[in-house]
C-alpha cells in the first residue's frame, strides 16, 4: 500500500479514557482509599485543522479531559494516540519530545504569565526548553514573527506582562503556545475571563491561525454560543461522561440528549422578542456530587424524560444518526 493512500491519522485519538482522583481514605489514617471518577470511558478524535468543542458545567470533567490528553494527569484506563502512536504511557524523554507537539492556552491571562519575565522571555521559553534555539538572542526574530502573527507590535517583546490588557495577554499566551508549531492546542476556557468586546478578537485570531497553520484545537468552554461559532464538532459532558457527540450543526439543530436540549434552552439569546418567546427547559435540582454519581444514567435525577431503565442501567453512546452519537435510553 502506498503511503499516500493510507487514511489520515487524527492528530489525537482517545479511546475508553478514564481518570480517577483519590479523595481521602487510605494514607496515614488507614481505611479504604476512595476515588472520584473525573472522566469515565471517554472516546473521541480530533483531526488536523479541526476544532472539537468540549462543553460542560462544573464537575463535568472537561478540564480533566484536556489535561489527560496533554498527559498532565495519568489515565486510570484507556489509551491516547498521537498521530497513531500510543502515548498513554509515554514517559521520560519521549514524553518531553511529545510536549512540543501539544500545547495549552489557559483561562486566566493574568495568572498564566509571569509578571517578572519580559514578553520575549515568556514566548521564547518553550523554544529554549526544547532546544530549538540555543540562546535567547537567537529567538528574537522568531518571537517577533510570533508576536506579529497574533497581532501584537514587535516591540512588545521588551515589555512586561503588566503593560498589557487582558486581551493582549491572551494573545501572548497564544503566541507562546504556537512557538513550537504544535499540532494540537488545548484551550481551556480561553475567552471567559476576557471582556465582552475583546472576546471576538481572540476568537477571530484563533480561527485565523487555524486556517493558516492547520493546528487542531480542543476548545473547552461552558459557553455554548462561542462553541457553536468556533467548533467543527462538539462533545457535551455531564459528570465525567460524554452524553452527546457530533457535528456542530447536527448538535445545535437536532440535539438528541435531554441534557443538551436543556443546556441549549438555558442560554439566553440577545434578542428580547426571540428570547421572551422561547420555552425554557428548567432542570430541577443541582449537579450531583461527582464522587457519588447517580446509578444508571448519571443524568436521570434531573432528566425530564427519565424512564425506569435509566435508573438501573447506564445508556451506551450510540450513533443516533450518521456522525451523531448520544447516550440516552429514552431517545
Amino acid at each position: 500500500m502506498r503511503a499516500d493512500s493510507l487514511p489520515v491519522e487524527p492528530v489525537i485519538r482517545v479511546s475508553g479514557l478514564s481518570v480517577r482522583y483519590p479523595i481521602g481514605g487510605g494514607g496515614f489514617w488507614g481505611g479504604k482509599q476512595r476515588f472520584v471518577s473525573a472522566v469515565d470511558n471517554l472516546s473521541f478524535s480530533i483531526n488536523s485543522g479541526e476544532t472539537l468543542g468540549v462543553v460542560g458545567e462544573s464537575g463535568s470533567g472537561k478540564t480533566t479531559t484536556g489535561r489527560a490528553v496533554l498527559r498532565r494527569v495519568e489515565p486510570a484506563a484507556g489509551s491516547i494516540y498521537f498521530k497513531g502512536q500510543d502515548i498513554t504511557h509515554a514517559s521520560g524523554e519521549p514524553l518531553r519530545r511529545l510536549r512540543r507537539h501539544m500545547q495549552m492556552v489557559f483561562q486566566d491571562p493574568y495568572a498564566s504569565l509571569n509578571p517578572r519575565m519580559r514578553i520575549l522571555d515568556i514566548v521564547a521559553e518553550p523554544l529554549l526548553v526544547h532546544g530549538v534555539v540555543r540562546k535567547l538572542s537567537d529567538a528574537e526574530e522568531r518571537v517577533a514573527r510570533l508576536l506579529s502573527l497574533v497581532g501584537l507590535p514587535a516591540d512588545a517583546r521588551k515589555r512586561y506582562a503588566d503593560a498589557f490588557s487582558g486581551g493582549q495577554r491572551q494573545r501572548i499566551g497564544i503566541a507562546r503556545a504556537l512557538a513550537l508549531e504544535p499540532d494540537l492546542i488545548v484551550a481551556d476556557e480561553p475567552i471567559s475571563a476576557l471582556d465582552v468586546s475583546i472576546r471576538a478578537q481572540v476568537v477571530n485570531l484563533m480561527q485565523d491561525l487555524q486556517k493558516e497553520l492547520r493546528v487542531a484545537y480542543l476548545f473547552i468552554a461552558h459557553d455554548l454560543s462561542v462553541v457553536r461559532h468556533i467548533a467543527h464538532r462538539v462533545a457535551i459532558m455531564y459528570l465525567g461522561k460524554v452524553v452527546e457527540l457530533g457535528e456542530r450543526n447536527s448538535i445545535y439543530e437536532r440535539p438528541k440528549h435531554p441534557y443538551t436540549e436543556a443546556l441549549l434552552s438555558a442560554v439566553p439569546i440577545p434578542d428580547p422578542e426571540l428570547q421572551r418567546a422561547r420555552r425554557r427547559i428548567v432542570l430541577k435540582g443541582e449537579i450531583p456530587d461527582p464522587s457519588n454519581p447517580p446509578k444508571g444514567c448519571r443524568f436521570q435525577t434531573r432528566c425530564p424524560h427519565a424512564v425506569e431503565q435509566c435508573r438501573v442501567a447506564e445508556p451506551p453512546l450510540e450513533e443516533k444518526e450518521p456522525n451523531h452519537w448520544a447516550a440516552c435510553w429514552a431517545r
Binding site: V196, N204, R228, P270, P272
Partner: protein, 346 residues
Amino acid sequence: MKPQTDLTASETLLQVEGLRVHFFTPRGVVEAVRGVSLHINRGETLGLVGESGSGKSVTSQVLMGLIQLPGKIVAGEVKWKGRSLLGIDSADYVSRVRGKEIAMVFQDPMTSLNPVFSVGMQIGEVLRYHSGLNRAQAADRAAELLDLVGIASPRARLRQYPHELSGGMRQRVMIAMALACGPELLIADEPTTALDVTIQAQVLELIAKLQQDFNLAVLLITHDLGVVAELCHRVAVMYAGRILETGSAAALFHDPAHPYTMGLLRSTPRLDQLRPRLVAIDGAPPDMAQAPTGCAFHPRCPLATDACLTDAPPLAPRERGREVACWRPFAPAWEQRRETEKAHAS
C-alpha cells in the same frame, strides 16, 4: 419568562442625577463614574450593561452606600422617592431605606455570606434589625423566605452553613435575604455570572417571577446581553464611566444607535445564529486613570471624527424615548465603515 410592565404604576422610585465618583489612588485620580443620570420606576427592570471598569458596579455601590475611601462621591444627587440619600442630614432616612426598601444581591454568593454563621442567623439578623422581630419570629419568617426562593426543606436549611450549600443555593439564600424586608428595589450585580448554565437559568426564572409577584423594581447589572434581553424593560449601556445609550430593550437590541452598542451586539456570538466571522471591536477598554479625551470610545470607534477627539457628546434625547451620547448616531456604523473602506479601495 416575560417581564411585565405595569403601566398604571410608573412612579419613579430612584433618581440619579449627574453622579461622579472618583477613586484617589497612588496612581492618580481614577474617574470611575463621570456624570451618570438614570431613573428606575416601580415594577420596572433596568439593565445596566458594561465591561470591567465601565463604572456599572460603582454606580450600584453608591446606591447602597458602599463607597468608601479612596472612593468619593464628588458630585451628583441620588434620590429615593424624591428624598436625597446622600446629604448628611438624611442619615435617618438612609438607614430606614437601605437594606429594607432597597436591597442588593452580589455576584459571588460565597464571599457575600459569612462562613461562620448559619443561614438562619444571617437572614434572621436582617429581619431583627429592620423589622424588630424576635428570634423565633425571625426564624419562622426566614423559613418562609427560603421556601419563597425555591429551597426545599427550608427548616433544615436554616441550620446549615454557607459551605454546605451549592453555588446556586447560596445565590437563592442571598436573594431570600434581600427580600427579607419586602424591598421595592432589588439591585442585582452580576447575579448569575458565577453560576453554571442550568443553575443560571433557574436563578433568572426566579428573579423574573419575584419581579412579577411583588411588582419589584430591579436594577440588573451585567455584561451578558442575553440576560438583559430576557429580563429587562429598559437598558443603559455604560462605557468608561458614562452612559452612552439608553432606551427600551427592544429599541436597543433591534436598532442600536451608538457605535459601541452596535459593536457589542455584532461581536457577541449567538446560539441561534451562525455567522461566518464575528465583527470585533478593535482595541481595549481604557484605563480610567488616563481616560481618553472627548468621547471615551473614540479610540475604538469606526466612525470617530475630529469632534469626537476633543468634545464628549452629551446624552441627548432621540426618537422612541431613547437617549444617545454620540456625535454621529443612528448610522449603521459598521456597514458605513465597510462602505468607506470599499470606496477607498476602489
